[in-house]
Each structure stands twice: as C-alpha cells, then as structure tokens.
C-alpha cells in the first residue's frame, strides 16, 4: 500500500454568519494516492469549493471555521501547522487553479512577472529546502524529462570555487534562466507565442488565456498535489472545451496527484480515476470512476446521473431531482438527502446516515467503493 499524498479525514467546516452556522462540510474523508486523479462532483453549494480551499487552508477564517478533522499532506497534518509555516506547503506542495481566471492574475503585473514569481518560489525552495517546506518532487514529473544534452552542459559557465564562488551561487537565478523556465511553463500549456504573451498585462488576455497562465503558474511550481477548483466553469463553452482538452493532456503528461472539482459529470468521468459525489457538505459516495458511473450505490448519485442531459439525444424532458437542496444551516434530521430520496425508509428520517461504508466488491476487501446510504446494497 502506497502512502497517500493527501488524507482528509473527518473534515467539518462551518461558515459562521451572525448567530447561525452553515455546515459547509460535514465529516468529509478521502485519500488521494500518488499520481491519481480524484474528481469531486456535486451541485452548486454542496461544499466543493469549500473543500478545495480548506485543504491548503485558504479559507478566510472568519467567516469559515474548521471544526474538526485532519488534513494530512505527505505525513504532516496541515491543521496543526502554525499559520506562518503554511506558505512553505502551498505552491510547491499543494498547487491550485481557481475558478475565476479573470480575477486570479494580478492586474498590475505582466504575465512574465507573475509566472516568474511562481518559478522563483520553486527554485528558491529547491535551493534551500527548509524544514517543513515541500520542495518539488513526489510523483510530479514530466513524461519527457529534460535530458541535458552535451552541448548545453559544455556551454555552462565555469564555476568559481571558494567562498566567492559559493556566494555567487547563492545569488538568485539569473534572469535568462528564469526567462527560459517561464517560457517553458507557458509552452507546457500550449501557448503558441509565449514571447509575446510574456509582455502582456492580464487585462489584455482572454479568459481562456488567463486560465492557461494560471495552470502554467501552478504547474511551474511542480506541486505534489494539484487542486483544480472548477477550472473551466467561468469560461464560455468553446473555451471550456479547449481548456479541458489541455487539462486532460496535462494530466497524462504531468502525472501529478490531482484533485479535480467540477459540477460537470462528463468532465469528471473523462478525467478522474476516482470520484467523490458530494451532497449538502457530505461525501455521499466515493469510488473508482467506472463503478460510480455504472453501478452507483447512492440514491443521490443515481438521481444526478439520470438528470445529466444526454448529448445529441432528444428524449423529451430532462429528469430532475424532486425538491431542492437543503438549507445548510437547517439540515433535515436523519439523512440529508431523505426529503428528496425516492427510496427513503422511515429510519432515514430519524437516524443520521452512516459515513461511507464499503459497498459492492469493496465489501469483500477489493476496491474502494463506498456509499453513505444505509440501503446501498438494497437499492433496486
């Protein structure tokens, strides 16, 4: 058993607003194995983004409040890390791509400066691996590792020995090297003429370009875990397709552990190895992508799959899930989904649903499919 890159267990997050509290995450637990892509799907407001922000502890506290749980990243519980040590984990340890590419780049700097900042952070940490810092490494590597060719090695500057040489080597990387790395990062995300893009300000770029640059920045730090929080949602449909294609190619190429969050079942089905389905702040089902999509073991997953529009087909009205998402500050007693569940039994209304119990083949110790429905096995 390989040690997972990220182990989230029992994570609960509230948003405290006035005297009320919105239970944005309740008892969320899952693992991400090295090199695996884990997708999370769910409706708007089910806690997907909260989860994405809670892992690198980016939630604004207040209003958010992490009540309990562990976020163990490469053996360190991030919740126990003092706040000032967190920057050492972010970026090179846990990278992130956000939902709104339009606001994610600093309007005051050119593309070069922004990507260079990310590259500098990684280079600095590679050079001075501080205690608790996460230098680039882990499962992240390009499938085509840059092999140093002879001509390049020979053309390297002759190093000066002694204290002076050491002092020289401690200097921050020279800008031509930095520039080459920035260009490399931009080429990785299929930007055709990075030389031009480097000189532009974010407001001169389209949304798709900005998202590519965000992805380039995140990847240039070579994180052990990349969190992509709905990276395509804010883009229009054609650009979504482009960025998604890029993401899929990069996932193959980069082989990092990725937490991919989306409300689009199709996207998750295509990208993820394992899928978590979220409802009202809970992970209601978690398992390998094929099992989730072919033999869902939670009524919500089933309803969600049925409600997904089948493309190119006109079968009349779309299926919907009856009722509406519960108010997160006043969750129903018992299972959160029972008011909308067609299979709800009397005890579903009273007793809280179990936390992810293995189902299907996993019950016999094979696979990792789990459902939070007490009648998972009995579902018709």
């Amino acid at each position: 058993m390989v040690e997972p890159v990220l182990q989230v267990s029992g994570l609960s997050v509230d948003y405290v607003v006035g005297k009320g509290a919105f239970h944005a995450l309740r008892n969320v637990s899952f693992d991400i194995a090295p090199g695996r892509v884990v997708g999370f799907v769910g409706e708007t407001g089910c806690g997907k983004s909260t989860l994405a922000h809670a892992i690198p502890r980016l939630l604004p506290e207040p209003p958010a409040r992490v009540l309990s749980g562990k976020i163990v990243f490469q053996g360190t519980d991030l919740r126990e890390l003092p706040r000032w040590k967190l920057p050492a984990v972010r970026g090179t340890g846990i990278g992130m791509v956000f939902q709104e590419p339009l606001n994610s780049l600093n309007p005051a700097y050119r593309v070069f400066d922004q990507v260079a900042e990310a590259v500098r952070i990684r280079r600095y940490r590679e050079r001075y691996p501080a205690a608790g810092a996460h230098p680039a490494g882990g499962p992240f590597d390009y499938s085509k590792p840059p092999t140093p060719d002879t001509a390049e090695v020979l053309s390297r500057p002759v190093t000066i020995g002694g204290a002076a040489g050491e002092a020289l080597q401690r200097r921050p990387p020279v800008s031509s090297e930095l520039r080459a790395e920035v260009l490399e990062a931009l080429r990785l995300v299929r930007i055709n003429d990075p030389e031009t893009i480097l000189r532009l300000y974010p407001h001169e770029l389209s949304g798709g370009m900005r998202q590519r640059i965000m992805i380039a920045m995140a990847l240039s730090e070579k994180p052990a875990l990349l969190i992509a929080d709905e990276p395509t949602s804010a883009l229009d449909v054609t650009i979504q397709a482009q960025v998604l294609t890029l993401m899929k190619e990069l996932i193959d190429e980069v082989r990092a552990s990725i937490l991919f969050i989306s409300h689009d079942l199709g996207v998750v089905a295509e990208t993820a190895d394992e899928v978590g389905v979220m409802y009202a702040g809970e992970v209601v089902e978690f398992g390998p992508v094929a099992e989730i999509f072919h033999s869902p073991r939670h009524p919500y997953t089933r309803a969600l799959l049925r409600a997904a529009p089948a493309r190119y087909k006109d079968d009349g009205d779309l299926d919907t899930i009856a009722g509406s998402v519960p108010n997160l500050s006043k969750l129903p007693r018992g299972c959160a989904f029972h008011p909308r569940c067609p299979y709800a039994a009397p005890d579903c209304r009273v007793d809280p649903s179990p936390i992810l119990v293995p189902v299907g083949a996993a019950e016999k110790g094979a696979g990792s499919h789990a459902s939070a429905c007490r009648y998972a096995e009995a579902l018709p």
């Binding site: 000032w84 920057p87 984990v89 992130m96 606001n103 994610s104 031009t196 650009i239």
Partner: protein, 357 residues
C-alpha cells in the same frame, strides 16, 4: 479567445484616417498579436501631452521644482537682492528691476517670494510624505491584518479608534491649537499638520487594502506559496499604489494651503527675515493691502499656482497610472502616434477618463 482587447479599447478613429483593417482571424493563435503598454517615459509624456491641462500642471511643477532647487542651492543665481535687503525703491509697483514690486521699506518681493519657494514646496511634499508614511503604514497593517483575536487584529482596531479620535476634531482647528501650544517655528507647524493629517491616509489606505485583499489574485498568490508580508508588499501595495500616488499629489496642494493658513492665522514665521514663507508674508503685508496690493498678491498667487499645478498633475497621473486608460492613449507601438491635437475640437478621449473608478 481570438478577439484581442486592443480592438475594443482603440480610440475613436479620426475622421480622416480610415480605421485599420481588422487583423486576420487566426483561430490557432488565441493571443493578441502585438501590444505595447510600456509605462516608460515615452508613455508618460504622451499621456500627459494628450491632456493639456495636466501637462500644464506637470510643466509648472517641474519648473517650480527646478527653480526651488536652484534657489536652494545658490539664491544669487536667480535673485538680485537678498530677502532682507532694503533698496531705495520704496513701494514700487512691479517693474523690470523688481518684477513683483517692493514693499514699504524697499524690500524686493520677487526675491522674497522665490526664497520662500523651496521651503513651501519642500514642506508641502514633506508633510504629505510624512503623513503618507505614518498613516499609510498604519493603514496597511490595519487593513491587511484585521483578523479579530490576533495581536495584529487588536493593534489594527486600536489604530482605527485612534484615527477616529483624531478625525473627530476639525483638522485645521486642531493644528492651530497644537501650534499655539508649541510656539512658532517650522518644526512646530510640521508637527501640527502631520498630527492632523495622518488619519486620512489610514482611512484611505485601509479602505483600498480591504478592497484589494479579498481579490482572487491575492488568494491565488497565497495558494502559490507567497508569504503574507510579500503578498502585502508585492500584490496588495502595488495595486493600491496608483490611487495613493494620485491622492498624494493632490494632497501636496492641500498641505501647502494649510501650512500657509496656519502661518497666516496663528503663528507666522519671522518676517522679514532670511527665510521668508508665503503665509507669513501675506500676514505681514495685509496692513499694506490697500497701498501696495502687489505685496500680498504675489505670495498669494504663488500658493495658488503651485496648488493648481499639483491638482492638475494629480489628475494627469491618474490617467498614466491606470493601465486600462493607458491603452487608449498608447496604441500599437509599431504605428505612429495618432494625432492627439488633430484640431481644436478634438477632445481628449473622455471615456478613458470617465471609466476610472
């Protein structure tokens, strides 16, 4: 993705020149083709030139600065008389020998007004700068680290309450009271004005920091592993700098007026003396207003011109510093600059200035 923002922000085409043909559609290259937004000196000059008033302000400020520097280095370069020198021309109106006239004892007003320029200009910049550093620094801390329950959170609340206390006094009255208790002298007036001036910068900077620090790019920087201090210095400060510089430039004029007012009303600096000051000059000559009006007119005019120049420059800076409005003025760098002064009726691109904040 293929549309470049250049086309949307291009200035209105001049009636004579046909609009440039649209760039050929390149579906595979989503990038805007060329762009020049170098905020270099060339851009600076072009943007300032585009707006004649702010250019005038810029010229006046530069000219005044140069004169002030020359006078400060060696007054005899420009001035024929020393400020206290008594000439035989008593109460003369402006003439070639005495451009601003002379007073009742024959002192040259021009020499005195120009001698006061380095002091007044320096005080305007210095007091505003000191307030900017003190108030701005406190505002940064109060805005950025306002998490309740932390040490810095408590500090920021304390700073804000202190600011409220200071702001609850009318600033001019408070400054007058402070100078009245401290006595005459430049340091006293500086202290009095700075004491009443910094709270405005706390408010301004804190407000700007609050609006910037919740921007997605700050979170993105944090997610990239940038430390908090560096986020504040590099991402937050940089984005509030533009309004701050504009406000600061406008503020220099206000400080000048306030300093002169305090000197005029409460604690004039010794005049006549080796170091004249405009407010004190006006105070000294007010009794001679009817007989020798130029003695009051020219120090007053000096204050007026300098304040106006800083206001116009501040407005112009706003255009230079906002990259979005800068685009309108500076087109593609490979093309010649569009004629900004095409005719007396061609107005500056109004939408660029109107789109600000």
């Amino acid at each position: 993705m293929g549309t470049s923002p250049t086309s949307s922000s291009a200035p209105p085409a001049t009636p004579l020149a046909p609009p440039p043909p649209p760039p050929p559609a390149t579906p595979t290259a989503p990038a805007p083709r060329r762009s020049q937004t170098r905020a270099g000196l060339g851009t600076f000059a072009r943007v300032l030139l585009a707006n004649r008033l702010s250019f005038a302000g810029f010229v006046v400020v530069v000219a005044m600065g140069t004169i002030a520097l020359l006078v400060w280095v060696d007054p005899s370069l420009l001035l024929r008389f020393s400020p206290t020198q008594i000439t035989p021309d008593i109460g003369q109106p402006p003439s070639w020998t005495h451009p601003f006239g002379t007073d009742e004892s024959g002192r040259d007003i021009f020499s005195n007004v120009l001698r006061a320029l380095p002091l007044d200009l320096g005080l305007g910049i210095g007091i505003a700068g000191l307030s900017l550093i003190i108030g701005g620094g406190l505002g940064l801390v109060a805005g950025f680290w306002d998490r309740p329950g932390t040490v810095l959170g408590v500090v920021s609340v304390a700073v804000l309450r202190l600011t409220d206390i200071f702001l609850s006094f009318p600033s001019l009255i408070l400054a007058l009271a402070i100078t009245a208790s401290l006595g005459r002298g430049v340091p006293q007036i500086v202290l009095a004005i700075v004491a009443t001036w910094w709270p405005y910068y706390v408010r301004l900077v804190r407000g700007e920091v609050l609006s910037v620090k919740h921007q997605q790019y700050v979170t993105a920087a944090r997610a990239a592993g940038v430390t908090e201090v560096r986020i504040l210095a590099r991402h937050v400060l940089r984005n509030i700098l533009d309004p701050l510089v504009v406000y600061f430039t406008l503020d220099i004029g206000t400080v000048l007026v306030t300093f002169s007012t305090i000197a005029f009303i409460a604690t004039p600096l010794p005049y006549p003396g080796p170091q004249p000051e405009w407010g004190s000059m006006i105070q000294f000559y007010q009794d001679w207003l009817a007989q020798y009006p130029w003695t009051v007119l020219f120090p007053g005019l000096a204050v007026f011109v300098l304040v106006l120049a800083f206001s116009l420059l501040g407005d112009g800076l706003r255009d230079v510093l906002d990259p979005r409005s800068r685009r309108v003025f500076v087109r593609d760098g490979t093309e010649p600059e569009p004629p900004m002064s095409a005719g007396p009726l061609s107005p500056p691109p109004v939408d660029a200035r109107g789109s600000l904040r």
